[in-house]
Amino acid sequence: MRHTHLLALIAVLIAAIAPDLLLAATEEAAAVLEGAPKPSRLDYPMIGNVSARTVVWSAAQMHLFLAAFVLAVPLFAIATEFMSVVTGDDRFDNMAREFMKITMAAYSLTALVGGGLLLSLMVFYPDLMGYMVKVFRGQMLIYAMLFGLESITLYVYFYSWDALRRGNRKYYHMSIGLLLNTVGLTLMFIANAWTSFMMSPAGVDAVSGAVTGTVWEATRNPLWNPLNLHRFLANIAYGGAIVGGYAAYMFLAEKDPETKAHYDWMGYTSNFIAILGFLPLPFAGYWLMAEIYAYSQQMGITAMGGILAWLFIIQAVLIGTIMLAANYYLWSGLMRTDRGAQYAKYVKYIAVVIVGGFLVWLTPHTLILSASEIQNLGGTHHKILGPLGIMPAKNVAVNLMLVMTFLSFQMFYRSSRIPTVSWAKQGNMLVVALYVVGIVNIVGAGIYGYITPTVYKVGASVPQVVSTLTIIIGAVVIDVFILRGAKAEKVHWGRMTERSQYALFVLPVAFTWLMGLMGYIRSSLRTNWHVYTVMKDNSPENYIPTLGDAGNTITAITLGFMAIMVFVFWLSRLGQTKQETVEDAA
């Protein structure tokens, strides 16, 4: 028992000390008054024909993919572990351990690519890195220290799973998990501070870039918290999507029905986690974008009104793909329950709304037209498609898609439960009325945007979001009461088609592509600045590449990451494979 006490004590001490270390760094007096470097083209080292930007871009994006996955999985692993304690169901515990097993295989790759990123930044952009070190000083050492702590806690958390599985020991184990997640999130917040500082610098002189403030001032720059929230939610969704891909891989690979049932359940849970993180993500994205506009209107216009705007159409296609794949998987899941067929008749209506929303979302506002096309159209905007290309229509589309996705979840959940309360029918009517009024309100707020001034149009998007959340929360609360003491029906885990598993593969591919695309947009908003308005990029590649070139690079990085993931899945499966003994073979 002694070593578990010691571990717990260390965990508490580190948790208590870590904020002090951070504050110590932030309170450090700023004494560097030298301005930001002004490197000339010759100050950027050239190595043959190697494209410095592409190397750093690829390493940064790959590191982000891996880090997002490695940071997110422990978050829902500990939530799943907690579920095992609450329910006493060992299946949750086994699944949480399996989540962590995939993370372990990816962890060393994350560190490896992170090291590659650091080296490539130092080789190709030494002046920028020198400036960043001046701004963030001791925080970079704290980051390195936390990374060490992350490694220790991750290994201890995983390898102590069986040793600390029962009774009070379980709480020690979860404490280690909590520490792991605290350290992981702190690492992400620190890295986000560096990234967001490059977009919206603070704590430095606005003209010369001289460091005038503390590390904390540079850290809490205007875009830090919107980025923190957006990445936190995106990581949850991304991690869920990837372990869902793993579950699908194992479901297809395994032959034993019991094992298939386990991976079907794991796939369902992972999809649930992915959608749970995904539902609030558009709203976090709106906040980030609103803060970008508030910080620099020029930056906002570059994103949504300039060359990068067309990438938002591709974003819409990818998000629509995610929605369709996730919903298709949920609809397929109705066959797991005997009463699922009763709900299948509603699927076509949900599909119409989701496909309709998808089409509206990807409708561009401004078309690239020739003179004769403009003449034929009678203007630069199509009379029907034009109005659907602006935000009120897109807000309606995205909110309805989210509501319908939640409805798909609710149908599956209800398909395995028969309410026993006497007021079940009336309760259902409460839920139906909530959906009807909520949807009317979302559509109404969209129409409102067309007939009111711009400021009201933008303002009306908030009630739309709140309507979506009200429907979801209201339906969950009413269901809790309706299904109290409900008769549970058997869920036939494993009774799924193989094609449904391919929907689970679509999710991580689309998520990875989407993150690569949106990361590129966010980074490109700095245009020809390393640190926006403070330190200019004078390298030979200080321009925004053509959309085609950017698309090719993002796709290549996505393919590279998917290859790594297949390798990680294969490694995990290899770890479970046992060679037959001579007796077995006989």
Binding site: Q426, M429, L430, A433, G438, T452, V455, G459, V462, S467
Partner: protein, 42 residues
Amino acid sequence: MLGNKWVVFVVALIVWAAVFYFIDKSIMEFQGLPVGADLMPV
């Protein structure tokens, strides 16, 4: 127990409409965007 389900449905429609109206009006005004009883800008 609570009466005919369609009666409940109609009452629920009215109650939810009132809830959403209250939410819409409060949020717009909270954002510094004054609206009248018809929710149009004033």
